[in-house]
């Protein structure tokens, strides 16, 4: 009895195996057909090679900051007045004026830079040195000082937030007397120049030469600063993606960016962006 049961079970298994084998073969055929159909279908939605003009806006993501502008601080006639002209590497150096209630007018020299310390944090350092003399009852008194501001760009409020510290030196050369006073670290908050939000636009005019790209374009910052670019690159048939190298041409800003993108329906979908623009490291990748 037991033996008959085993034989029936074996038969069932064999039959099932046979049936399964048929199913597997059918499935294999079906999957082959589907994959061919898929290939045909996917060729319909394949990315294109880039050709023409493309515009991409970078809003609230990867930001580029330009701190150029005129800065005033004032209270009851006391003021620091300076204009920053950020160069193509994100650095700036210049001269301004500092006066204390009209009592002391001092020349202010400053220098600094803005740079990114991570993909979402931009920092600015601003060093200020001032010096001047005042005639106090026929005796010349010399002032000099060095302040250093360590600031972060708060993208939400478009302000520079941080601290300032330093020291001030006063001397009376005629009397061989001098004193140095350390300025304790205190808070600073400075609005960025009007229109500076960190957002920027990328415009590319691309033409093809076989699988290679050539072209030009521009990066336009939110304050209107425009950096002309040259574009080179290639289309990778295997990856179905376009790789582009963007380099600045003029003296209005140093840009060196690499990006990989997929072109679909006339749109350039940027998947990865890395490089530097105006001294700031940019890094973005589509998840």
């Amino acid at each position: 009895m037991k033996c008959a049961q085993i034989q029936r079970w074996r038969l069932a298994v064999t039959t099932n195996n046979y049936k399964d084998g048929q199913k597997v073969n059918k499935l294999r055929k079906l999957s082959l057909l589907l994959s061919v159909a898929g290939l045909c279908a996917s060729s319909n939605v394949r990315a294109e090679m880039a050709s023409g003009t493309y515009s991409n806006s970078f809003q609230n993501g990867v930001r580029i900051w330009d701190v150029s502008g005129t800065y005033n601080g004032g209270l009851e006639g006391v003021g620091l007045n300076y204009t920053i002209n950020m160069d193509n590497t994100g650095k700036f150096a210049g001269h301004g004026a500092a006066d204390v209630s009209g009592f002391v007018n001092m020349d202010l020299s400053f220098w600094g830079a803005i740079k990114t310390v991570s993909s979402n944090v931009a920092k600015m350092t601003l060093s200020m040195r001032f010096k001047g003399t005042v005639d106090a009852g026929g005796t010349a008194m010399a002032f000099s000082g060095l302040f250093k501001e360590n600031l972060e760009v708060d993208a939400d409020t478009s302000t520079l937030v941080g601290t300032v510290g330093g020291s001030v030196h006063v001397s009376v050369p005629e009397l061989h007397r001098s004193v140095t006073q350390r300025i304790p670290v205190t808070d600073v908050q400075t609005p960025l120049p009007p229109g500076m939000t960190g957002n920027w636009n990328l415009t590319l005019n691309i033409s093809t030469n076989s699988a290679h790209y050539l072209g030009d374009g521009e990066v336009t910052l939110s304050n209107g600063r425009m950096v002309p670019l040259t574009v080179t690159g290639a289309y990778g048939a295997r990856t179905d993606a376009s790789r582009l190298l963007l380099k600045s041409t003029g003296t209005n800003g140093l840009v060196n960016l690499g990006l990989s993108a997929v072109v679909e329906n006339g749109q350039l979908h940027i998947q990865k962006l890395t490089g530097k623009a105006l001294g700031q490291a940019l890094k973005a990748q589509q998840p």
Binding site: N72, G73, V117, V170, R177, V188
Partner: protein, 452 residues
């Protein structure tokens, strides 16, 4: 005879007393003057402390957007809500009142950050309760200020709270707490900072801040961690912060590292430039190395060295070396940096700069050369410089300010005219302010005219 001697002695005594009085007078006068100076200095400090909510020309003051009350994303999750009462404590702090003030979004953030710092420095239980309340509900940059100020708090829980913020989910607040740890210093802080620096799961901005913090802590372990990081990651974004931190430390400690690092043949150009620029934070002891690097074979290294020399102060004047370098430098971008460094030197040979400026053909480098001469004109150190500037530079700069196609060059031209402060340059600025189409140029010209 004795009477005569006595009279003579009295006379000499009187003369000596008169001399002493005169010396005392000079002494008092000198300290009065220095006191006067300090008043000015303090005014400047107070100005910086209370009035430097710098406003950009024609921009309204900043009032921060109110922040939502505490959410899961706040950095002090799990912190118990402080049991505050409104009674005055021994420290005189009224916690509820202060908490309300810290969270009042109609008050500028700067004022609230200052208040938070003041509260943190008190180091009392009430102060800590107030800060915990602000950490639950305040905006990120307020939390950052609290984290930073806790570094100065003597309260026994200050360290634990800083660590809580540093490892929280609000990266802005965490960076503040990291700065607080650096302010606090000591072995424990160094260990925590190093832990953050080397933990690759932590936000890169926070790790960068930890690196910078280690640069401020004068413990040998901090130096070791930084050197280890710089060696381990020669080419990452965070490396620049590590190098900057090393640059902040006493140059005697780091000189050997920097020399070896910069000479490394495998180092990328970016890392080398970052290392050289980090020396801008070093003391004047780094000047000889920077002057040597200003002759490096790589132009980007030469430019970086010149940039780092801009801030060199207090050491011997090296304008002669800079002028020699300028005479030999073939790359305009490097010459621009050398001119910028020269502009901050007091003892430059103006006639040599005129010769260099006359030969300068590159637009950017030429503007930088004219800026050096503008400084000389401002200081009244050379009549030749004044003649050249008024006769040659002013018309050229005026034209550039009004019609140069590159906006940065237009602005740079105005700034050079502003720096010179000669009658001719003032007249040019007046014309530019009236005729320019570029808003930034007009603003800069008007600002320059106002400070004359």
């Amino acid at each position: 005879m004795q009477g005569a001697r006595r009279r003579l002695w009295h006379m000499s005594l009187a003369t000596e007393r008169a001399g002493n009085a005169a010396r005392r007078g000079r002494w008092n006068r000198s300290w009065r003057l220095i006191g006067l100076g300090l008043v000015v200095v303090t005014t400047v400090a107070l100005y910086k402390r209370h009035a430097l909510t710098d406003s950009i020309t024609s921009q309204p003051s900043v009032v921060e957007t109110p922040q939502q009350p505490a959410t899961a994303s706040t950095s002090v999750q799990g912190t118990q809500s402080p049991q505050l009462n409104n009674t005055s404590s021994n420290s005189g702090l009224q916690p509820n009142k202060f908490l309300a003030e810290l969270l009042d979004s109609s008050t500028p953030l700067k004022a609230r950050r200052e208040k938070a710092r003041a509260v943190a420095r008190l180091g009392t239980d009430e102060a800590m309760a107030t800060l915990r309340g602000a950490l639950e509900q305040g905006p990120s940059y307020l939390k950052a200020a609290i984290g930073e100020a806790l570094g100065e708090s003597a309260h026994p829980d200050a360290m634990a709270l800083m660590l809580e913020i540093a490892h929280g989910t609000d990266a802005t607040a965490a960076r503040g707490a990291i700065r607080g740890l650096a302010t606090r210093g000591g072995d424990e802080s160094v260990q925590e900072l190093a832990k953050v620096l080397f933990d690759e799961r932590i936000d890169e901005g926070v790790r960068s801040e930890a690196a910078l913090g280690l640069g401020d802590v004068h413990e040998p372990a901090a130096l070791q961690s930084l050197i280890q990081a710089a060696t381990a990651w020669p080419d990452e974004t965070i490396t620049a912060s590590v190098l900057e931190a090393l640059g902040k430390r006493p140059f005697a400690e780091t000189e050997a590292f920097f020399q070896t690092y910069i000479d490394s043949p495998l180092l990328s150009s970016d890392a080398k430039v970052a290392a050289v620029e980090a020396l801008a934070n070093a003391s004047t002891d780094a000047q000889p190395l920077l002057l040597t690097l200003a002759q490096d074979s790589a132009p980007e290294v030469r430019a970086a060295a010149a940039w780092s020399l801009i801030g060199s102060d207090g050491g011997p004047d090296f304008s002669a070396q800079l002028i020699s370098l300028l005479k030999e430098e073939p790359v305009p971008a490097v010459r621009t940096r050398l001119y910028q460094a020269l502009g901050n030197q007091d003892g430059m040979d103006v006639s040599a700069v005129i010769t260099l400026a006359e030969k300068e053909k590159d637009p950017g480098a030429r503007i930088a050369a004219l800026a050096v001469l503008a400084t000389a004109c401002n200081e009244g150190s050379s009549s030749d410089g004044l003649t050249f500037f008024n006769g040659t530079a002013v018309p050229e700069l005026k034209k550039a300010a009004l019609s140069d196609p590159v906006s940065q060059d237009r602005l740079a031209s105005v700034l050079v005219l502003a720096q010179a402060k000669t009658g001719v340059s003032t007249a040019a600025l007046t014309e530019i302010a009236q005729a320019a189409n570029d808003v930034k140029v007009v603003q800069a010209a008007n600002a320059a005219l106002q400070r004359r």
